[in-house]
Symmetry: D2
Subunit: 280 residues, 4 copies
């Protein structure tokens, strides 16, 4: 079933690099052709082929790190994206299911065909006519410099529906609803709901999160200030002139995860409580 696999890891974490090597050896021993992400290949000096993320068209990909590693990978992969098996190195990891301790067991199950594919649709963003990378979690927009008021009109399918003065504004997918959007006060979206949510950050006046059907086209017309910042999935960043409108809609692309079980609400619990030590 799976013949080729790519390995991506968090580069600033020694345990992730070590585990990459272990996973690589294990997968080779199971007869797979393994490709390391180019930068990772330099760090762990394995005698293994390497590829840039955008060229990684393997049967599946193993990411070793946290949500940041997954989001960075999805942003760069060519479409359609290979499915991802995400290993969580004990950091912020809502999207990952497998832990370092059970990684070989998990790989074994998967190579034996015992897994499910969890598909997530993504958000497409157009800056004027330029298409930006798709978002798995969220598209965030703010003033070009921090702590500067951002003023925008919101249009739904060509009709202006609201005005927003805030620090920033984000549009989050179902998956993203448990991430940054939740921190900003947005609701959780159930996995079976085809929807995205518009959530303000520090609104100056009353502005509640609004949940839209995934069929909706949202346009953000920025009124102030002159330079705005867009951040996609926490990694892709671009400063742009506010004369250009942003349009956000459901993408034709998907990110899929290889899962051993469906467990959205269990992962939600750990997202909410991952750091018990806070405020105390």
């Amino acid at each position: 079933m799976f013949n080729t696999v790519g390995i991506v890891a968090r580069l600033d974490m020694q345990e992730a690099l070590n585990l990459s090597l272990e996973v690589t050896e294990y997968l080779k021993s199971r007869g797979l052709n393994v490709y390391l992400e180019a930068e990772l290949a330099k760090r762990i000096e394995a005698e293994t082929l390497s590829l840039e993320l955008r060229e990684m068209r393997t049967d599946f990909i193993v990411t070793i790190g946290g949500d940041g590693t997954i989001l960075r990978t999805c942003l760069s992969l060519s479409k359609p994206e290979p499915p991802i098996l995400a290993v969580n190195m004990g950091v912020r990891g809502f999207l990952a299911e497998v832990t370092p301790g059970n990684v070989k067991q998990a790989l074994n199950k998967i190579l034996n065909g015992k897994f499910i594919i969890e598909e997530h649709w993504k958000l497409a963003t157009f800056l004027g006519k330029e298409r930006l990378p798709d978002a798995l979690n969220e598209v965030f927009i703010s003033a070009g410099i921090p702590v500067k008021l951002f003023h925008a009109n919101i249009w739904k399918n060509g009709v202006r529906i609201a005005e927003c003065r805030a620090d920033g504004l984000m549009v989050a997918t179902q998956v993203g609803s448990t991430g940054y959007s939740l921190s900003a006060g947005g609701p959780v979206l159930d996995p079976e709901l085809e929807a995205f949510v518009l959530t303000p950050v520090c609104p100056l006046t009353v502005f509640h999160p609004v949940v839209f059907s995934a069929k909706t086209n949202l346009t953000i017309e920025i009124l102030k200030p002159e330079k705005a910042l867009i951040v996609i999935d926490g990694h892709y960043r671009k400063i742009f002139d506010v004369e250009t409108r942003l349009t956000i809609a459901k993408s034709e692309n998907k990110t899929s995860f290889i899962r051993l079980k469906e467990d959205f609400y269990q992962r939600l619990e750990s997202r909410l409580f991952f750091a018990r030590g806070e405020q105390g």
Copy 2:
């Protein structure tokens, strides 16, 4: 098109009673058969036929009051419900569009066929096997006495997904998302989204609002205390033993409004700002 009409009004407001009389006379002059809600008939002593709400199977219904009047009407009407033209007497009125000043103009347009029908699906609630009245806005559940902790398990399509300790819990429709649910911290649901939202009131531990597809069956299993209270649309109230589970799902029934234009986001604005005088 419309031959028969029912009139319902807020009974504790003299202006609403006066307007009921005016509207009755106008509709008679246009050749319609007018029926007053039984209690209203006693108050305004018009020589007009009267009907109980549950027998009001007229071509449409005019409600004169605020959202409370509409919700009370919907709760009692037999199914399928006649469409409602809602006149807002200057009180809390998110659902109503027509004002007393333009009521004849609006009726004239409507009798000439210039209107749109806005349909809203409702929530069905089962207390064990007993079916309770459908909700247009929300189903609210709490301990049987106020300020008493309420502890429940939440099940989605037969799978337990969460536990909640709070003052109360509500399930709100798209329409209801701008009402009580919004006050409790829930999101706004766009009119095109087929969804409902579970919102806690004063949760003791972290519990975020969750938005579910309208196809979902939610079951509330109450663990404590022994007597619980259910309130539907702010009017229907029932105390029940917590051994009985509550099941909430999309109803086959709908409430429809006669509108002159679509204006959800304009009405949302007035909902948010209807009382400027607060906190100041």
Copy 3:
């Protein structure tokens, strides 16, 4: 130092009754005169003297249960209140420090004079001219029946400062700021701050929590509905006619706790995370 002690326990919990007996035997063995709360005496059938709470003027009191047991005790004690050593039976217990496992060790330290006294001022409430029991946590006011809009004017030192439409309104002390008020969206007040906080529950229009100096007199003038409910510390309940104004101010009375160490922020952490299992 301590010659007499009163014992109060949560009556519906067998472990609390068992521990009461153990604590009683231990304290007798250390030469103290022990008095059981009257109802507790009936349950555990010890050959020990008993007293009603309002007559319990012992050198100190041991409460065995959770915050509910402490709050019920404080509401009934004659003033000045004896200091309280609170044992937490594993339930909601922000105020309690001692656990069943270390209760003898804690009592030993205390009888040897190794303890600190943590004093908390309380809120006095006047319903017209009638003085109600003082609040250690909060005074909560709402409509007489649940899910009914409550409309009130707020006066500060004789000047009307705000209007509020909500499900309810509460005034919480510093101690109470980590309880019900926190669930309703209020801030945490640091133990050194002499202040109380006014927090709305489900406000219909925008109404933010306001923190006042403890020197402030707040008056609540209820405009609607005709019957209102006041709940003090979750236990004292009274329905009243809204013609009577409520005045809330710092009381001359205090509740004091016997503590082995100061640990407000550690207890705050456990308050926030006591139930990991929620929403998951």
Copy 4:
């Protein structure tokens, strides 16, 4: 009583420049020595003396603009600061009381001695040993680049009390409690309360706003990332290495406003509702 006056205005708003000229002429006609802020002097080309803000030691200062103009002025004035009469040009203006229409009437009253002085204490911030400008509203700290997680320990008077993972963290004064802190979910602090409030922005895990007595010393120890950003009153910005701790405490300096009446709660109302047009 008042012999010298300084004029400061929002420079990018023609109406503010025009009003500056009018106010200058009027104050000269009343016999005062008028000094224009240096940059303003270049724009309106009046034959009037000019001064840099830090040299403006006049008897009082008139600011013409919004809250931004006031905050920029306070940040630069030498200590002790002259009292400020704030004219609001119809923009975001919580701190300003006088409107363009009644400015001459207000000046007349003030020159006749009919006014009150409203004093506000400020926050002092130390970056290691370096003292930064005092804050009238708030001190905000975040990662050096936007949408990057910020991780810090909070110390109160030398004791570590909490840990925070968030987009940012702010400490706001009583005056500032109705500004940015309110947008981030913080409470309103009553003018008579000697306190400041610590409010997180988009906390990753549960972190409630905490209100501290103004006597408290707060230290922020930043753990991640390596570069942090501090913004004081929305205008002073500095990137710093996170090895340096930040200490925040009550300053010995004050900002005072010349007011015709005390009206905190009236201004709060307009702060909350200044822009009716939002979300809809």
